[in-house]
């Protein structure tokens, strides 16, 4: 068995909806391994995004523990965990509009405590170039780029902080099929060539078919397909 990167133990999550408690995650336990590309599938309202926000440290479960490389993320600290252990790619790209593409990448570099090369700006340009954003485009404001280009910038930013675990929430939801394939290829390349663990929440069969492991969230639990 490959080395574990993220272990979920008995995660429970519920919220009150119309006076009734709605249980989203029920004693959910699962282990994600290093260097694999996961897709989490599930019907709408099954709690995929909630699960992603919990394992990304943006929210906390009602009960249960999450271990990153064997350490409880509560002990690491959610803020530090987000800064140094993971990065997230969103459906809406979530780039900062008054910064250029390269500055958005540099933003992630400036916040992390991870060891990074000294010549950060060049590294950022190289990262963007690797994902098809040439230098002339890297210096443009992000709202002057296409959706696919913006998502590439978002992926480049997720890699910039030199983390091993990347989450993505419907990363291709706003893209056409051709671009969707390109983006997923990038994710695949990241897991295969760079040993990154990719966990993507998606509805898309195209995406899930290209992943190493497809995991279904149903009735509050994760099951491999």
């Amino acid at each position: 068995m490959a080395e574990e990167i993220l272990r979920l133990e008995n995660i429970n999550y519920s919220y009150i909806d119309g006076g009734y408690e709605r249980q989203i995650l029920k004693d959910l336990s699962y282990t994600f391994e290093k260097g694999k590309f996961y897709t989490i599938l599930g019907p709408s309202g099954s709690g995929k995004t909630t699960l992603l926000s919990i394992i990304a440290g943006l929210d906390t479960a009602k009960s249960g523990e999450i271990f990153f490389e064997g350490k409880n993320i509560k002990e690491i600290g959610l803020h530090k965990y987000r800064r140094n252990a993971i990065s997230i790619v969103f459906q809406q790209y979530n780039l900062i509009s008054y910064l250029t593409a390269v500055e958005n990448v540099l933003l992630a570099m400036s916040e992390t405590d991870n060891e990074l090369p000294k010549d950060r700006r060049n590294v950022a340009y190289n990262l963007l170039e690797r994902f098809g954003i040439v230098r002339s485009k890297a210096d443009r404001m992000v709202n002057q780029l296409s959706g696919g280009e913006q998502q590439r910038v978002a992926i480049a930013r997720s890699l910039a902080s030199n983390v091993d675990l990347i989450f993505a929430d419907e990363p291709t939801g706003n893209l056409d099929t051709a671009t969707e394939r390109e983006i997923i290829s990038i994710f695949k390349e990241l897991s295969q060539e760079f040993g990154k663990t990719i966990i993507v929440v998606t509805h898309s069969n195209t995406v899930s078919e290209m992943s190493d492991l497809r995991v279904l969230l149903k009735d509050g639990k994760l099951n491999e397909l």
């Binding site: 992630a108 929430d169 939801g173």
Partner: protein, 537 residues
């Protein structure tokens, strides 16, 4: 890409928002500059005028306090006893003030008019007016009714010399250039203590009589009259000799157009003023005073006052005989006057008071005080409004920047850094706005400052004391406070934007920004990145 860098990029790349905020700060800055400029000009005008005024404090018997105390007494004996020991300014109190390093001079001045001896050995400096001509014609007559109720008249002799004496060394007159010693020196403490017969005379009096430092002159504390003769007073009693130790000149010219010029007496000519220690004056007058006392004691053997040997004039009871009702203290700095009065107000004798001679100054400063008060009020009103407006703008901006905050939090930026970025953004904009307002505000403040002062003076009931157009020869004046007018104060009023005001504006601006960020900061602290980002998705 730290938060300062991000703040800078936000400010420079979101120009429309930045321009609107700069404009807001620019307007705020202008109003604050006008307020501070006017307030500071009003305060400076007061300080500069106060500095020009003589730093004098008057130590005096407080008649209001005396009156109130006597009014409170019901027993007649008690009232009489109080009057027997009527409050006075004591030499020892003044000596106490002189140990204060702020006190330079104490003027405990008394005045007398003296004569030359019968031979006229010391001539006075002539005025050349009509009274002098009358005197030459022996037209001056002094008349009285004798014991048989018969009118007796004899030629009236005008005193020639004005004797100005002080109980302490140095005099205010010689401190501010009004009088200056051209030769010799002023009398010292030793000469005062020993009642040495020394004097200072004017350059013109010295020239008229061909005398100088080291020479001796003869003065007469009285003159030959039937009144004096009746008391047994002889020329030996009132003639006295003084050694000249100093020659002075003065910038107190005669005013031939003064309204009392024609009737001015020789002693009213400033050239005929002689400065002598108070103790020496008293010693010179003592023989006549003792003979007068003895005469009345003989005439009124039953009188309790004259029966009491303690009441007989002597050098020992000089202070009692030479009643001092006020002493003027000259301090080192006009700005120390009020503090000095405050420091001693509680420790001085019961029926005395210290007066900073500020009443007229305070009355005339009223329009400036009102102006300063309104200007400060406007500054604070603008600052409070600015805080409310900027807080509101920042809070509303937060709503539109939630997504950006979510992104920053998701990449691990701390909430403190997000708040710091907002602060730096506002501070940068404020600095630009205030810098522009310093340039325009200094021009506007000058114009507005002068207009509001004119309006304030027009609506206030303060006016210069009416000038009756009379000029007096006033050698009696012991009021050493400087007369000021509203024009003096206004002439010092100039709205200037000093470096201090500029510094104040930036400090206030940063204060506004800091306070304006507080409420939005609480909002940021409550932000949940999951809610922002996942809702967006």
């Amino acid at each position: 890409m730290n938060f300062i860098n991000r703040a800078f990029k936000n400010v420079t790349r979101r120009l429309s928002k930045t321009i609107l905020l700069v404009l807001t700060f620019f307007l705020i800055g202008n109003l604050v500059i006008i307020g501070l400029g006017v307030s500071s000009a009003a305060e400076s005008a007061k300080i500069l005028t106060r500095k020009k005024m003589r730093a004098v404090v008057t130590y005096m018997v407080d008649y209001d306090k005396v009156y109130r105390y006597v009014e409170s007494l019901t027993d007649e004996d008690e009232i009489n006893k109080f009057y027997e020991n009527y409050p006075r300014v004591k030499v020892e109190d003044v000596a106490g003030f002189l140990t204060d390093p702020r006190v330079r001079i104490a003027n405990a001045v008394s005045s007398n008019m003296w004569y030359s001896d019968a031979e006229g050995s010391l001539d006075f400096v002539h005025l050349g007016n009509s009274r002098e001509q009358n005197m030459d014609e022996n037209a001056g007559q002094s008349c009285y009714y004798d014991e048989n109720n018969v009118m007796q008249c004899e030629t009236y002799k005008e005193p020639y010399f004005f004797i100005k004496s002080n109980m302490f060394p140095g005099m205010i007159e010689f401190e501010d250039g009004g009088y200056e010693i051209t030769e010799g020196r002023f009398y010292n403490q030793e000469e005062i203590t020993n009642a040495e017969s020394v004097c200072l005379i004017s350059v013109n009096l010295a020239a008229t009589n061909g005398v100088g430092v080291g020479d001796t002159i003869t003065l007469a504390t009285g003159n030959d009259s039937s009144y004096m003769r009746r008391q047994g007073v002889t020329p030996e009693d009132y003639n006295c000799q003084f050694q000249i130790i100093g020659i002075y000149d003065h910038h107190n010219p005669l005013l031939p157009d003064a309204s009392n010029w024609d009737y001015a007496s020789p002693y009213e000519n400033p050239d005929n003023m002689i400065f002598i220690p108070t103790t020496a004056v008293f010693k010179a007058m003592l023989p006549v005073q003792q003979k007068t006392f003895d005469y009345y004691a003989a005439q009124n053997p039953e009188d309790e006052y004259y029966s009491n040997e303690e009441n007989r004039p002597s050098m020992e009871n000089m202070e009692r005989s030479m009643y001092m009702e006020n002493v003027t203290l000259l301090l080192d700095d006009p700005l120390n006057v009020e503090q000095f009065v405050e420091d001693y107000s509680n420790s001085i004798s019961q029926f005395t008071s210290l007066d900073a001679n500020n009443d007229e100054f305070n009355r005339l400063s009223k329009p400036l005080d009102t102006l300063s008060m309104y200007a400060n009020f406007i500054v604070w009103l603008v600052v409070i409004n600015a805080i409310v407006i900027i807080t509101l703008v920042t809070a509303l901006t937060l709503k539109t920047r939630e997504y950006e905050i979510g992104v920053l939090l998701s990449v691990g930026a701390s909430k403190i850094k997000v708040i710091a970025q907002f602060f730096v953004e506002l501070a940068l904009v404020a600095i630009i706005g205030f810098t522009l307002s310093v340039i325009s505000g200094s021009l506007i403040a000058k114009k507005i400052g002068n207009t509001v002062l004119e309006a304030q003076i027009a609506t206030s009931d303060v006016a210069n004391e009416e000038d009756f157009g009379y000029e007096y020869i006033d050698i009696w004046n012991t009021d050493y406070s400087t007369e000021i007018s509203l024009d003096d104060l206004i002439s010092e009023y100039e709205v200037r934007i000093s470096p201090l005001i500029i510094a104040e504006i930036y400090v206030l601006g940063l204060g506004i920004v800091l306070i304006s960020v507080i409420i939005p900061s609480f909002m940021i602290m409550r932000y949940n990145p999951k809610k922002i980002l996942m809702n967006q998705n």
